[in-house]
């Protein structure tokens, strides 16, 4: 018996696509007049993570874009999931935010249920199962990194629900720029200072070479000992100081002649308006 979707079956739960036909009609009629339909705001990001000697290092830029306009110059893309598990979100800003918040509450419930600190693998599994369930309509790409009882781990999860476990990862529109820095200089078991410099350089590559990324570099260092969140670790794209001045000092131009013409003005109308003062 061939399995096929019965057209008379009502789809309950999940996303409602009732408005998609209306939206399509609206979009075509808008484009006739020259307008474009509003698009979901993507963070247009560079996020990166790497495993170093003592744990995991996560990095992100801080620009949020709305098409070609910078909507937020200093947004936070590194989100808290558990005391020693953080994640960076790229893709559609709202989806990434919601997905990470759901993970954070699921992890808290799981911790209370099992009485154990969470594993990074557990967070990754719940996240990817949720994203797979939404079949890619939740457009968030996430890098999950943390330290648990089994060690330091780093995972990336894509919007359709696939995941990769690697020693270094980059995601977002600036990923290509950032991964090139990692491919050149990454070594296993790097020291903290070298690792910080490497992640900073990778994010800086994204900031300079990708239009969707910019502003500052945020770093998050997760080790067995604890978490260090370095917000605004580096500000490579600072506004330059203005060197010159357009105003001229009085006396720059010599005065040759001076003529004074008094204007005689008559009062023709006088009106008083009362102001409402308490």
């Amino acid at each position: 018996m061939l399995h096929s979707l019965n057209p008379s079956q009502q789809q309950t739960g999940g996303f409602s696509f009732e408005n998609s036909r209306r939206n399509a009609v609206l979009e075509s009629s808008l484009s006739e007049v020259g307008y474009k339909a509003p698009k979901a705001r993507k963070t247009g990001t560079t996020i990166a993570g790497m495993v170093f000697k003592d744990g995991v290092l996560l990095g992100a830029d801080t620009r949020a874009t709305d098409d070609m306009v910078v909507a937020d110059k200093n947004c936070m893309k590194i989100h808290y999931i558990a005391p020693k598990i953080y994640c960076c979100g790229a893709g559609v800003a709202a989806d990434a935010e919601m997905a990470t918040q759901m993970m954070a509450s699921n992890v808290e419930l799981h911790m209370l249920n099992t009485g154990r600190p969470p594993l990074v693998a557990m967070v990754t599994r719940q996240l990817k199962q949720m994203l797979f369930r939404y079949q890619g309509h939740m457009g968030s790409s996430v890098i999950v990194g943390g330290v648990d009882v089994t060690g330091a781990h780093l995972y990336s999860v894509y919007p359709h629900g696939s995941y990769d476990k690697l020693p270094f990862l980059t995601m977002g529109s600036g990923a290509a720029a950032a991964v090139s820095v990692f491919e050149d200089r990454f070594k296993p078991n790097m020291e903290l200072e070298d690792a910080k410099k490497l992640v900073r350089d990778a994010i800086a590559a994204g900031i300079f070479c990708d239009l969707g990324s910019g502003s500052n570099v945020d770093l998050c260092i997760i080790t067995e000992a604890g978490v260090q969140f370095l917000r605004g670790y580096d500000k490579p794209a600072q506004k330059g100081k203005r060197e010159g001045q357009y105003r001229y000092k009085p006396g720059t131009t010599a005065v040759l002649t001076k003529t004074e013409t008094p204007l005689s003005v008559d009062v023709i109308d006088e009106s008083v308006q009362m102001m409402d003062t308490e």
């Binding site: 399995h3 993507k42 890619g136």
Partner: protein, 216 residues
């Protein structure tokens, strides 16, 4: 960010665009895969192991959509665990392949992944099953993924019956190397898994250790 000209891979589904192969010999099976995962024209993982364990002596090779394939493998891994506890012994390779086939067939409209299931069990020794599109067929060897099209001629010409374990491993490595050379969506390193009654052996062959052919 450039609006509609944003990089393809931001919206593209992640595919494994792969070469996978499994071949049985007297007493076991050999599975092989490349390691490239692509999203659009970008490689997102160059060292992914596409040979996923379903049980101690049953592995599957993933191809197609990465999310779909990983999810199917994970679900069948769970179902096999339950099944083997219920029957009280190691599951048959045919059971694993049937579980994969059931998911592939029921959701064939929604999924786009092809898994080759291969392993060893006490009753029938080494077996290779193809589960493309929801069929279940046992074959002496099976190839799959985008790179397989480039090597159908090679495997058809080079396959001989009753090859030994080492000959099978060499056959798999040669096939993978040829496919990785020609298929843009396959590349990286080659992963090999050999399963027989004594155990499971996993091996990685790095790029420069792969066999070379006339043009290299």
């Amino acid at each position: 960010m450039l609006g509609e000209t944003e990089p393809q891979w931001l919206s593209e589904e992640v595919k494994t665009g792969t070469t996978i192969i499994a071949i049985e010999f007297d007493g076991g099976v050999v599975l092989g895969s490349d390691s490239r995962v692509s999203a659009g024209e970008s490689v997102v993982n160059r060292v992914m192991n596409k040979l996923s364990p379903l049980h101690d002596k049953i592995y599957c090779a993933l191809s197609g959509s990465a999310a779909d394939a990983q999810t199917i493998a994970e679900m069948v891994n769970y179902q096999l665990d339950v099944h083997s506890i219920e029957i009280g012994e190691d599951p048959q390779v045919r059971s694993a392949a049937t579980l994969v086939r059931n998911i592939s067939y029921k959701y064939k409209e929604e999924l786009s992944a092809h898994l080759i299931v291969a392993g060893w069990d006490r009753r029938a020794g080494g077996q290779v099953f193809a589960t493309l599109n929801g069929l279940l067929t046992r074959q002496p060897f099976a190839v799959g993924g985008s790179g397989s099209f480039y090597v159908y001629g090679f495997v058809d010409a080079e396959y001989r019956k009753r090859m030994s374990k080492e000959e099978c491993q060499q056959f798999v490595v040669n096939t993978l190397s040829l496919a990785m050379n020609r298929d843009g969506s396959s590349g990286g390193v080659a992963y090999l898994v050999t399963i027989d009654e004594h155990g499971t052996e996993e091996k990685v062959i790095l790029g420069n250790d792969l066999p070379t052919f006339f043009d290299q």
